[in-house]
Amino acid sequence: MVATVVDRAGRVGRPARSVAAGRRRVLAVGVAASVVLVVLVTLGLILGDFPVPLERIPTILAGGGEGIEHTVVVDWRLTRVIAAVGVGALLGIAGALFQTVTRNPLASPDILGLSSGAFSGMLLTLVLVSASWQALVAGSLVGGLVTALVIQMLASRDGLQGFRIVVVGIGVSAMLASLNTWLLLQVELETAMFASAWGAGSLNGVSAGPVTGALVAAVPIVVGAFCLVPRMRQLELGDDLAAATGARPHAVRALALLAGVGLVSAATTVAGPVAFVALAAPQIARRLARTPSLPLGLSALLGAAVLLASDLVAQHALPAPLPVGVVTVSVGGLYLLSVIVLELRRRA
């Protein structure tokens, strides 16, 4: 929240320094987040049962090193690190899009039914078809997309309004969540535990092929999302003013939601439905940068950092290895909490 002030001429606006200072701050936060991300990536490459000293990393990445080192660092750890960074960034951008379009800090892919739909699709695949990794990814993807489509159809009437899509979304999501609870009660305990672990989102066993495919497919969507940013800023003035300044609110909103759905789908094919990153990353970004609107690029950086940090904790810091989605929720939650508490201290 940025304080509104009235200057001497009676004009209402944010404090006068804020434009230049605000840009500097966004830049500073971006640089800091990038540094943190580089540290996390390095940690991701050296940590693990097979010790690789830090000074060996550049050589190995450049193609040198013995066979086993290359396999461990490049094929296993680098793939996983790239998957975490990519999925986190996609989710961060998607979350910023959803929250901007619906103008609601609680709007996450859940609102469009993507998460609960993906989990329903995955559970039904598990119960009815097969438990292979590809089948589960396909099932969750289809489930998420069909749900998003149904919600869009139910909610569109005189165009997509933020409020209606939110209410329809929570209705459909609640039904699917109930269905999921019920399905979990119907299957054997072992199956239910497996489903819950997978459904939380996991980077266990990611391989280079699907990761590359999903991330490459997401690139044009990311570019499109960034092109939408100026239009979305116009929408923040309200639909009427936005239309008066040449934007088409309905089209912008529909495109932004479409982009968000595409990004979450790409992320889901890599890691399953990872919870909370899309909700937390934009809020953390905005609070750190103190911008009035949700910064897309910073959300991507922070999404990547949150997911990678969570995956490191999930792999190395816990007595039993857990799916990353379980840790994401806690790490993202703790971080959001500390940001809120620090904000309070600073103002007190």
Binding site: M1, N104, P105, L106, A107, I111, L154, A155, R157, F163, R164, V166, V167, V168, I170, G171, V172, A174, M175, A177, S178, L179, T181, W182, L184, L185, L189, E190, A192, M193, S196, A197, A200, F276, L279, A280, Q283, L318, A320, L322, P323, V326, V327, T328, V329, S330, V331, G332, G333, L334, L336, L337, I340, V341, E343, L344, R347, A348
Partner: protein, 334 residues
């Protein structure tokens, strides 16, 4: 936004919903795997029934009906308070961390102390809900930023706890098994003793909620407007948090996390009587148990003699209604 008062419509709606609730209570006592005719129910209630009908009515159906009444009323009122207070149509009592706190306490109880009987987790769940909401309020309600800050604090702390809860259950198959049952929500857990002890908390929460209604009406126009009308915004805020904690905490303790009622009821009620909290709160209090009891009855008969847990049915009963209402032209934001 203007606060339109439609006293006539409000009183009429309360009457109609109360009548529907009476029907739901009778149906809840009569229907099930062993259906009884209404006269037999009345006989059994009056102590004149056969041993079998008395057992079915008094030992099986009265407790679950009472749980449904208390939990539904508490969730409906808590939801109305949360949405009025946060001015957010997505707000439900769970945002204060009630559900996450209760689930965390139950998971700990199940995993560490081997609690297994549904009745045993009532008090741990209530304690967990109270402690976590207190923490959320301390972090979120102090300082500037208003309800958004409180919501984010609740979401954040709730997420941390739910992550830990999932971690506990994923590493302990027995706890996972109990928790998936608890998560579905059920009116069968709590006995009449527990209900007698929990009811005063709900009553206190409801009284507090009614007392807050005029202040919430003023706050609907913005905190500054409310202040200029002499409303103590800080006091209302604390009052809402206390009332929601008592109501939703008690409901979660006796019935598990029944998630959709607190979210849906206030929307439906506002579309009937308008935004005046003096009408919305009592009507939510009455409409909540209607939905919970209807869902419970449906869950009993739909795959009889087996049952579908009430928490699962609630969304299937409520969501289509909510969506249909949201598609009407007149539906609008808070």
């Amino acid at each position: 936004m203007t606060v339109t008062t439609r006293p006539g419509r409000g009183i009429l709606s309360v009457g109609v919903v109360a009548a529907i609730l009476a029907v739901a209570v009778i149906a809840s006592l009569a229907l099930g795997a062993n259906p009884l005719a209404p006269p037999a129910v009345i006989d059994a209630l009056a102590g004149r029934g056969t041993r079998e009908t008395s057992f079915v009515v008094w030992d099986l159906r009265v407790p679950r009906t009472v749980v449904g009444l208390i939990a539904g009323a508490a969730l409906g009122a808590a939801g109305a308070l949360m949405q009025a207070f946060t001015r957010n149509p997505l707000a439900d009592p769970g945002l204060l961390g009630v559900g996450a706190g209760a689930a965390f306490a139950v998971a700990l109880g199940v995993s560490l102390f081997g609690l297994s009987d549904p009745g045993e987790v009532v008090w741990p769940a209530f304690a967990g809900a109270l402690l976590v909401t207190m923490a959320v309020s301390v972090i979120g309600a102090s300082g500037p930023g208003g309800p958004v800050r409180l919501i984010l604090a609740g979401v954040a702390l709730g997420a941390v706890l739910s992550g830990i809860t999932t971690a506990i259950t994923l590493t302990d198959p027995e706890a996972f098994d109990r928790m998936r049952g608890w998560n579905a929500g059920s009116l069968l857990g709590a006995g009449l003793d527990d209900l007698g002890a929990i009811a005063p908390f709900v009553a206190a929460g409801a009284v507090l909620a009614f007392a807050l209604a005029p202040g919430l009406n003023a706050m609907a126009l913005g905190d500054d407007v409310a202040r200029s009308q002499g409303v103590n915004v800080g006091r209302i805020r604390i009052g809402v948090i206390v009332a929601v904690t008592l109501l939703a905490g008690a409901a979660t303790a006796i019935a598990g996390p029944i998630s959709f009622v607190g979210l849906m009821i206030p929307h439906v009620v506002r579309w009937i009587v308008g935004p005046d909290q003096r009408a919305v709160l009592p009507l939510s209090l009455l409409a909540g148990p209607v939905v919970v009891l209807a869902a419970d009855i449906l869950g009993r008969v739909v795959i009889a003699p087996a049952e579908v847990p009430v928490g699962v049915v609630v969304a299937f009963v409520g969501a289509p209604l909510l969506i249909a209402l949201a598609r009407r032209r007149t539906a609008r934001a808070l």
